[in-house]
């Protein structure tokens, strides 16, 4: 069975290659098997005060209030025992008029994370092996130096301090926005590049695409062309005004320094772009470092 890796909001895991992410949010992923949703994954930072019974009771109450479905604890299926032995886990099942489900809630003491995974439907071999694959490969990153991001065809690796802020996955336009106290980084992936750039240059497209950011940050273009594609950069010729700099010291949300870089990757037929907004001067090599760790997976 082929597998693929998903990395999102501080966790990573493997799923069968025919599975796809069909729902996404902060600390939440829904998977489908090509026909219907078959699994849901949620995770929380529980701190050091995790009490299994309390969490399970709260969870069962919440679900019962929201959907009327009664959650019952059950014995951990035998095939799940080995891959879950590194966690403290509680298995459960539920049944409604339309469907059934079973899942597990487990606690990772090392990273203080509670994870809830449920598999929807009657199960079968496909779902069972997917569950084992998922449990074996699940990893939390909140104690690591870097967080991996791998979703659809976007793959990036950024320092742990950057947390998920916004995201958008519309056909042709994917965006992941991350931020820490001083800086925000937005990763864009736009397709199909050849059609978009058929009647205009990358510079013209980027100017239109980032129109508001260019105006807000007072950026100017420096277009560069390479053999394998093209790159265009937007930077600040002048330092932001004294008023803007003062405001940025007062509010962490004001980030007057900015930079944009867009790259056309001919082979993948994508446009990759990065927007950085910061409260302080952006180091010259920052953009290069981001692009070194931001690729399109094929």
């Amino acid at each position: 069975m082929g597998r693929k890796n998903i990395a999102w909001d501080g966790i990573s895991f493997d799923i069968p290659s025919e599975f796809e992410v069909s729902g996404i949010d902060k600390s939440f992923i829904q998977l489908d098997n090509g026909e219907h949703p078959c699994a849901e994954i949620r995770w929380y930072d529980s701190g050091k005060t995790y009490k299994e019974q309390n969490y399970f009771r709260q969870l069962a109450k919440k679900i019962e209030a929201a959907s009327g479905i009664k959650i019952e604890s059950s014995v951990l299926p035998s095939t799940w025992k080995k891959p879950l032995e590194r966690f403290h886990s509680t298995a459960f099942y539920w049944q409604s008029d339309l469907s059934t489900g079973r899942g597990v809630m487990f606690y990772c003491a090392k990273t203080s994370n509670v994870m809830l995974i449920q598999f929807i439907g009657k199960g079968g071999e496909q779902l069972d092996s997917a569950a084992t694959m998922l449990f074996e490969s699940i990893k939390f990153y909140n104690t690591e130096e870097y967080t991996p991001w791998r979703i659809y065809d976007m793959e990036a690796k950024l320092p742990i301090s950057y947390k998920l802020d916004t995201f958008e996955f519309k056909p042709g336009r994917f965006k992941i926005g991350l931020c820490n106290e001083n800086e925000s980084i937005s990763l864009y992936r736009i397709s199909p590049a050849d059609t978009i750039l058929k009647e205009r240059s990358l510079g013209e497209f980027s100017q239109e695409f980032f129109e508001d950011d260019i105006k807000r940050l007072n950026l100017s273009i420096a277009e560069l062309q390479f053999d394998t594609g093209s790159t265009c950069m937007f930077g600040q010729e002048k330092k932001p005004s004294a008023a803007k700099l003062t405001m940025s010291k007062l509010s962490s949300k004001r980030r007057p320094f900015g930079q944009i870089e867009a790259r056309y990757t001919k082979q993948a037929n994508r446009i990759q772009a990065v927007l950085i907004c910061s409260r302080a001067t952006i180091p010259e090599d920052r953009m290069q470092h981001i692009f070194e760790n931001y690729t399109i997976v094929r």
Binding site: E20, D32, G34, E35, H36, D97, L98, Y152, D153, P171, G172, S191, P192, D194, T195, K198, A268, N269
Partner: protein
């Protein structure tokens, strides 16, 4: 006895069933091509009876036919439109679309489905569920 009557949920179409539907063109559509090989569709405007009466009164209803509206499709739209033949399923159209533009299959399915849904709302196509 005093509780609200339970409404039986209508089973929705699964994703697979929806993708197996075959779009069929409306025969009332006039299809032309521009010099750039883009398709322009002229189709009768769908109106509520009250607006249709007003349109007739102001002479917009010519020769017993409702006013025509034009829709120019871009390259991607034209590709999808050309594949609508009543025989090709949404899934197959999306797969061809994904291959042609080198995009993710799921992304192509969402884009194609949204485009076909829009065409359906305008009355330009219908969907056949027969295999």
């Amino acid at each position: 006895m005093f509780g609200r009557k339970k409404i039986k949920p209508i089973p929705e179409m699964t994703r697979g069933e929806a993708l197996a539907c075959k779009p069929v063109k409306n025969l009332d559509i006039v299809e032309t091509r521009t010099a750039q090989n883009k398709i322009v569709l002229a189709y009768p405007l769908r109106m509520k009876p009250i607006f249709a009466d007003a349109a007739k009164k102001y002479g917009l209803w010519k020769g017993g036919r409702p006013p025509m509206k034009r829709l120019e499709l871009d390259d991607m739209g034209s590709l999808v439109w050309d594949m609508i033949d009543g025989e090709t399923s949404v899934k197959k159209i999306a797969a061809s679309f994904a291959k042609k533009y080198n995009i993710l299959p799921r992304e192509a399915e969402v884009a194609t489905a949204a485009f076909l849904k829009d065409l359906g709302k305008r009355g330009l196509i219908a969907f056949s569920v027969n295999n």
